[in-house]
Symmetry: D2
Subunit: 357 residues, 4 copies
């Protein structure tokens, strides 16, 4: 099975290069009867779009999404949904000098070796522009899950070494959207913005950590033994450009704990529901959701495109100096928030359907 | 697609409960012409088997593997390979008291909720005993990959807060196998063993970190955009019982770096090969292998089964106290090493075939 | 994805060679809570087993099925079910002379070319013995579907040129099982038996046609556009050894009709259900079940193994004469009935689950 | 896995309704380095397009195909290829009266029952317009296979009861394209055309049989046991609208033969190649290609849309009379030829890649 699809029952197949004709996806397996409009999808798209603030890339892609099949009179029909955005801001001349060399940290070299040919304009298929398709499909999944009362959000927890010390339980989506860096702690957000400005002024880039949350996920989602909910969330996040790590619940910090501390004790709450007193598990036991909050962290490396001069080699194996002139993000995390949300929604939606057969 | 299979072209489907008739897997898609014997597979099985040292569980399962199809006169025929181990050490009475309650940290509750029924003996399908099938299948993949010069190993880097400060490049497999905790740094290994002994005496358990390595992986493995090599490795590791986190290359530490530091500079070495000066990427760019070493870290939580008394609830939602009497590992990391190796081998094997169509 | 699996949600993966250690399958995706015993499965196995009458092969394989996982206390647990029959009647010396030549009509040549190696004993993986696994898995599906009131059966409609002129609507399973050739028309059955006896005496073999029926299939099963119920039934039947053709409803005879004749007129019956006056469609429109009876025909070629001398070539490309001495069926149709039923059940079960997500 | 995809390694996912925004497909898994232009694809599209002669529908859809991703500078890049045709001839008012009733022989009823909602304009997703995506993708596969010397064609063998008595071995593609009915026997073609004219004048429709051929297919394609080449070809053909039957090689006529007749004798030809003297198998043994010609027959029912008045019911279960006014084909076979060719190409391409891993 080729690699451009994700999901078993709610399955998306993305297509498109940064500077080709169009970017988008086919959503296959979407239940019929979901009300969805282009405007609702566009709202999520706009959270991802370039040029939304001075801490993101100044590229002015509009990324207008069209629904070209699978929706009739505003309702999904159970047939494949084509979501498509034509590429408009095509300035391949920006990339002309990149045609013949391998940019450090980018996939130029690996694509060239794997395929023997590549669309080098703006990273081609390896461009993060591909993720707009994920966000579009994720908007449909989010709509469906919201009807089931499942809430999905994420926020920037850390940029460089600046970390927000907040409890995800106190965070709401308005707070996240209240500033351009999408960190719900206002004070930390300001520091993050300052850091990004500095890094940008220095022609450099910086990474960070996104904290993701899924609330009200019913018990029972996840398929043992390989398609554990945690494993599929991990894969989904690790499939996003620039992601280098994923941890769920206690994650890497679990190694300092003893079993007697880490085991989340079961109890019955006042309404008769089974709950756990702590939630080090992060809402998943044996790969299956427990009904507790699912929370996880995603590590994103500093953006590979920088304006600082860098040494590299060209297609003739000659050493060359690269001075990137393309318009890029000094820090992708603010724009990665809707992508993380979309991947959460796609995974939970798929497992929701898989569990309810 | 149900969840008990992994791999697209080299595909295993595991089956079996801890105390049912048998545990094993079908390996479908294995190329014909590979020489393999039960003894070779058994060697890997023995690295995983219980009772191998005083820091592991004293259960004396022999885990003898049989090849029941797909291999004729010592050679794979291209047809499905059935690998099977009958369950022998069946003492369900050990688990009788567990029948009616949900152990904290275990999958008892989630399986019961998901399926409405469960084989409660020794964790049933959620038992780590399932992983013996992975190790058996992984032995075939390792054999195949070794012929391609691809080397796979892993070691215990950390137990609790005791961490080995070693460079993976200096590690060889003999060092790893030279002590019962499978940490190649002898001095740290001793400290780890002491810690495990203490934890065991305290009727508790402890987690840790496994460092995994894949050497000589050719350029080009991994399928954009969802089936990135890094994403599939992450999923494979996160599908192992008790794993809470995965990071590749610089992982979570990348967030403290600038793009100018993190970008691995390309150069041409004296033999004309394209290399990178650093390898923060961990051998994968854009989800495709670069030819550099692939290295990653896997976080494993403390074992859920402990002998300390714990509060929990039973199937009637009544509070009860649980005092585990089953025989268990105070720390699973030494026995998890062959499992991590197997998952690496299964993922690389699958992507090797996928790349070479 | 390798080729030894069928089904998306109710998925079986078969393994095993005719004279290897075992033959069987893993059933993954079986819903939990189905009561099933080895005895119930064995009953279907016995309809397929060799040596059941003088018109089948005299090989005395007992084909005893064991359930080795996925069923606990007589109930499916939602985990993979291993169904396995050890091979007992192993007389490879019967096949020694076949080791080095390609039997006409058999898969010896194609397996050898495809894999470069093959288990030549009793046709190895290409043996119809593989179908016992399908029958075993099909027994579980039939049990599940029977609870949904879905009835599945098939019968021998034609052997050689002897054809039963009966209406499937008047046929019941007892009639089918009332004679050794499994043709519900007693008079025709006698003629068929006589023909098979003649063919057997002549050291030859004969084919025929099986008529398959699925009753009370609910409206809505089948997934457009490629996984039409009719297409998946066709594939399932064409995957059975020796099958050369499949037609549903009016099938090939539809070409002599006009649209005005062939279109099945809708009406509302006395109980308010939507029905069609005729059913040329065979219970499927646009690939989706209509609620009317599904009926189809399967063409089976004469058995390739015959005792008549035949010319062929050996592995050194030399011409040789082959005189088969193995024990074989002069006509496989009576034993193919449970296989056709099993494939119907597997396809309908899978689509039942797919439709009800 | 939803039902709108076919193929494992060369995988297409089609989308689009008859009167929605667009129809097309994503081709995932296409090898890089194939030269392909829109014009080459359009050539195949034009063989399928409506209005090409007086024996087809007069609808004047232009069906202009665009490549929107996956091809750069005229060469495939290994990334997903989006093939898309915008819908132009949108006259939904033609279908207004069909909105509220179930046309006999059509999928209106089954879609409505399955999904609870449907795009009723021009059959929506069930329209044969979906097949244009198959033809477009098939053009790429045909291009690839032609480089491997594999030749694919089909022709109309029978319309109603008029049958061409010709040997497929003597047929070439020019003959097929030499007349509007695509029957290579000129005399029979004239009779077929006359019959279609009569049927059309009578406001009725007629079906027929397509004979398909794949030449120079190498030995070894097809994956035992379920993904036999013959089974996958059967499924592919049965997934085409209006197809009711499929047979390969001797097919249904094999039942009148004895094994001694039907077994194709192996011999070594003058150039040292292994051949069979006859080819009743139709180029496939044990589900694997033999290297002989693959040939098969596809039965197509008379078109369901006719202008004759028909009785049926509406969405309120009331009896109504339907008088179709839409523009339709009296016989789809001439336009189905490129569809059958495309499905052959898609299946062979997929198995070519699967065999050559």
């Amino acid at each position: 099975m080729p690699g451009n699809s994700i999901g078993q029952l709610f399955r998306i197949t993305t297509f498109g290069e940064s500077h080709g004709g169009a970017v988008g996806c086919v959503v296959d397996g979407c239940p019929s009867g979901i009300k969805i409009t282009e405007a609702e999808i566009q709202k999520e798209m706009d959270r991802r779009k370039p040029g939304q603030s001075h801490v993101t890339t100044p590229r002015a892609e509009t990324d207008e999404i069209s629904i070209l099949s699978g929706v009739y009179e505003g309702v999904t029909t159970g047939t494949p949904i084509l979501l498509l955005a034509h590429n408009k801001d095509i300035r391949p001349e920006d990339y002309n000098e990149l045609k013949k060399l391998y940019r450090p940290g980018h996939a130029d070299y690996t694509y060239q070796q794997k395929y023997g040919v590549r669309d080098w304009r703006g990273s081609g298929r390896a461009s993060a522009r591909e993720t707009l398709a994920r966000v579009a499909a994720g908007a449909i999944a989010k709509k469906y899950l919201a009807k089931k009362n499942i809430e999905i959000f994420s926020y920037v927890q850390q940029v460089g070494n600046i970390k927000a010390n907040i409890d995800y339980k106190s965070v709401d989506i308005e707070q996240i959207e209240s500033n351009i860096v999408r960190c719900p702690d206002e004070e930390t957000a300001k520091q993050m913005i300052r850091l990004i400005e500095e890094v940008k002024a220095d022609n450099d880039s910086v990474g960070g950590i996104i904290f993701g949350v899924i609330k009200n996920c019913p018990v029972g989602l996840g398929e043992p033994v390989f398609d554990k909910l945690s494993a599929d969330l991990g894969k989904a996040m690790l499939s996003i450009n620039a992601v280098k790590g994923f941890e769920i619940g206690s994650g890497f910090s679990s190694v300092s704990m003893r079993g007697s501390q880490h085991n989340d004790e079961f109890y019955v709450d006042e309404t008769g529901n089974i709950k756990t007193k702590t939630n080090y598990a992060g809402g998943v036991l044996g790969g299956i959701s427990t009904g507790e909050d699912i929370y996880f962290r995603v590590a994103i490396k500093p953006v590979s495109t920088i304006s600082k001069p860098q040494k590299t080699i060209d297609l003739d194996n000659e050493e060359v100096e690269l001075e990137a002139t393309g318009r890029h993000d000094p820090c992708v995390l603010p724009r990665a928030i809707p992508i993380v949300d979309a991947m959460s929604a796609l995974v939970v939606m798929d497992h929701y359907l898989r569990h309810n057969i």
